[in-house]
């Protein structure tokens, strides 16, 4: 009879659990990838042949309020606002919310856009810090600048929502750049299916690109390897993660950098929450919950072609802080809405998306980190079958690489954004090496987020911005 000592038995159980988790992880990624491939190519076929540009002339187009919270953005704010004021869309307003900046953001705006304070009546229908003044410009009638006391991004967005005059609002960052036709593209689902309550667009990395007058005029890759790794990550996250979940009707995240919402629905659910660092994620989950609780038909979708360009962190410290914050936002949101998980009342959101986010996104980094530690311990205790382990490691790396390369291919087939083949091959090369080193680093940051969350850390961290590359720079 075969007898196992407790150590070997524990090892065997751990082995089986990690293997099972690995299969679940890779299986779900592959399924999402297949769904996304079909969804992106099908969508591409539709938008290529549909007259989406007709939205600009359509009498039934819905007007939009663009809300851009700004905090200490004096260096980039003028260019960003200029870019927002020159978008292709028939009717929209730009609301810049100066969230109590300590630098000269407000003064720069006042001077450059010839702003003047206008007396307004403010009804605080959702919570936000007091609004000090509202500025308008006679030269730029579309521009509204709100000056308020500091309260964070969620608070600034709430102030913008209160002052918004249109039925749709677009939440974005003041330092991000929208492509000229991004609004035309992103509003299509609202016209097509009136039950649409929120639409997310793709966020791409602008580091290394040439920017002129607030527009990305030449797409290129940054020379910083850390940024190129993030390029691959963004393609994977947006092109197969969000497209896949959107196709399944269970999209839980719309990036805070670029999303369009029905204003009344957001007002009905009380606006953005102030007490979480993942306010964008939390808002979308709360929308699902509200609509399903009240049995209101709705749609929340992601579109892969309306593009928002953003500046990615260029140092390990800032990147680590960003990933730590994202993970804390995830933990917080899943904790707040834990009742939705495995609850049939919430349909695919409760039965598929919530468990996926808990098992894969939330505890995934912890399991992965445990796996690394376990392997090291087992190696030193001579409890590991080295050839088998190396085979398994190769498989894990190759499957990860396959997913990343597939995202690059999907982007190339559907959108061909990068003008030069060398740029695409650089992305492929980084997709090949991403699983050795960079991935482990992100896992570590995400594991540390648990500790920070437990300590009650609600900080955003610091994002050092260098500004977009300009001609001749």
């Amino acid at each position: 009879m075969l007898t196992w000592d407790p150590g070997t038995l524990a090892l065997l159980i751990a082995n089986t659990l990690i293997l099972g988790y690995f299969l679940l992880l890779q299986g779900s990624y592959l399924i999402l990838l297949l769904i996304s491939f079909v969804a992106v190519l099908r969508y591409r076929c539709i938008v290529d042949h549909e007259h989406w540009r007709g939205i600009i002339q359509s009498p039934l187009t819905l007007p939009i309020s663009l809300i851009a919270p700004a905090y200490n953005e004096e260096r980039t704010i003028v260019e960003s606002v200029r870019s927002l004021l020159s978008l292709e869309y028939p009717e929209y307003e730009v609301i810049v919310v100066n969230d109590g900046s300590r630098d000269a953001t407000l003064d720069t705006l006042i001077e450059h856009f010839e702003l003047r304070a206008i007396p307004v009546t403010i009804e605080y229908s959702i919570p936000c810090q007091p609004i000090r003044d509202v500025y308008r410009s006679a030269r730029y009638p579309r521009l509204v600048v709100i000056d308020k006391e500091n309260g964070g991004k969620a608070d600034a967005l709430n102030a913008g929502i209160i002052m918004a005059a249109h039925p749709l609002f677009c939440a974005m960052d003041a330092d991000s750049l929208l492509e000229g036709n991004a609004l035309l593209r992103i509003t299509r689902p609202f016209l097509e299916q009136p039950e649409t309550v929120a639409v997310g667009g793709i966020v791409r990395i602008a580091n290394g690109c040439r920017v002129e007058h607030g527009r990305v005029t030449e797409i290129s890759l940054s020379s910083n390897p850390l940024v190129i790794f993030q390029h691959v990550e963004y393609l994977r996250a947006f092109l197969f993660g969000r497209v896949g979940w959107s196709a399944l009707g269970a999209l839980l995240i719309i990036s805070g950098a670029f999303g369009v919402f029905k204003r009344q629905v957001v007002l009905d659910i009380g606006g953005y929450r102030h007490d979480t660092v993942g306010e964008d994620f939390e808002l979308v989950v709360r929308m699902h919950r509200h609509m399903r609780d009240h049995k209101i038909p709705y749609r929340i979708v992601f579109l892969p072609d309306p593009v928002c360009w953003t500046e990615a962190p260029e140092t390990l410290r800032v990147l680590g802080q960003q990933r730590n914050r994202w993970q804390r936002g995830l933990i917080d949101t899943l904790r707040i809405h834990q009742r939705m998980g495995l609850n049939p009342r919430y349909g695919r959101v409760g039965l598929l998306a919530m468990p996926y986010f808990v098992i894969i996104e939330l505890i995934g980094p912890v399991i992965e980190m445990s796996g690394y530690l376990f392997v090291i311990i087992a190696f030193f205790l001579h409890l590991i079958n080295l050839p088998f382990f190396l085979l398994f490691l190769t498989l894990a790396i190759l499957l990860g690489t396959l997913l990343s390369v597939a995202s690059v291919v999907l982007d190339e087939v559907a959108y061909r954004r990068f003008p030069r083949l060398s740029q695409v091959l650089t992305l492929v090369a980084f997709a090949l090496i991403e699983n050795v080193g960079y991935r482990q680093l992100t896992v570590w940051w995400r594991v540390r987020a648990f500790l920070d969350y437990w300590r009650g850390n609600k900080s955003w961290g610091i994002m050092e911005r260098r500004g977009f590359a300009r001609p001749g720079v």
């Binding site: 076929c45 539709i46 042949h49 549909e50 007259h51 007709g54 002339q57 359509s58 009498p59 039934l60 003047r116 206008i118 007396p119 307004v120 009546t121 009804e123 308008r136 006679a138 009638p141 016209l191 097509e192 299916q193 009136p194 050839p387 088998f388 085979l391 398994f392 190769t394 498989l395 190759l398 499957l399 690489t401 396959l402 390369v405 597939a406 690059v408 291919v409 190339e412 087939v413 083949l421 695409v424 091959l425 492929v428 090949l432």
Partner: protein, 365 residues
Amino acid sequence: MSFSSSLIIGIIIVCCTLITAMIGFLILKRMALGVALAYSRTRDAFFEHLILHALADMEDAQRLREIAWRVYTRQWGGTPGLRPFDLQALEHSLLRAAGELRGSDRQILTDIFEEAGGLARSLRQLRSPRCCQRLAAVQKLRIMHSRGAVPELIRALSDRSRIVRHAALRALGEIGDERAYPFLLRALEDPDRWSVHRAADSAVAAGAAMTPLLLERFASLQDPQTQIIYVRLFGLLRDPAAAPQMLPLLDAPETPLRVAAINALGAIGGAESASRLRALLDDAHWEIRAAAAQTLGALMDRESAPLLERLLDDPVYLVRYSAAQTLICAGDNGQAVLRAVIETNQPHADPVARQALGELAYGLV
């Protein structure tokens, strides 16, 4: 070697093959694209040159017609300058030029396209079992404004592919042929909202010629959602003939329909509309009060000033703001009302009056 090791090796081989295949695909795709682009640029330049001359000179137009006929009928043997794949290049150049031209210039190209065999080819293509072929045909016919294709395009409105149906709808709207109007009306009631939008665009493009048909159909409509679409169209068409049918809707039970009717009447204008709208300033629904106040502003109605003054104290901000905006539009009388309100320090009315006057002073109104 154990089964699990063999399995893992198998999967590794599959992964490696897939990754290599994807990288190979990326490289080959880019290379093929480069070659095709270089070739098509040369040929496009050749045909664009011919088109430019054809627009300026009748003889050159005849020459282009002959060359086009040879290309379409594939009888290019012995014709200097023609090469394989020229059909694509010719069509591409023709479509690009026609898309940029208007009036008689475009008509020259449409005639060449139709007479040289382009119309016949497109109609054959429209019967293709392949969706992309049918779609390409519809788009060609739209850009070339081929009136000869209208019956076939009407048939394409029942195509099994949604994309082809939408493209046909757009083509019929742009061609602007009266035979298509009844079908555009039908599309306005389509459950597919995108079709409704495209049909609405086409109806607006067709202009007042559509009004009699729209009014006739509107009289028998029951669904409030469809009625709203029609009412908004009447507003956009600004045809006074529609006003008598809008007035009874001001008493409809559905608030959104009433709001749409108020806005449409505002766009159409007329003295009777203004007097009916004034009566709505006391409506129980705030949406109606706000819409009526806004519309009276758009109509530059000066008689409503005393009624609007009361609305400055309305419990709903949007109503107050709309009333203040309309008073600004009413000229000196209305602005005097706002200044008087500021002096009385009314809790609701004072801030909104200050806001409206501030916006006026700064040139925002």
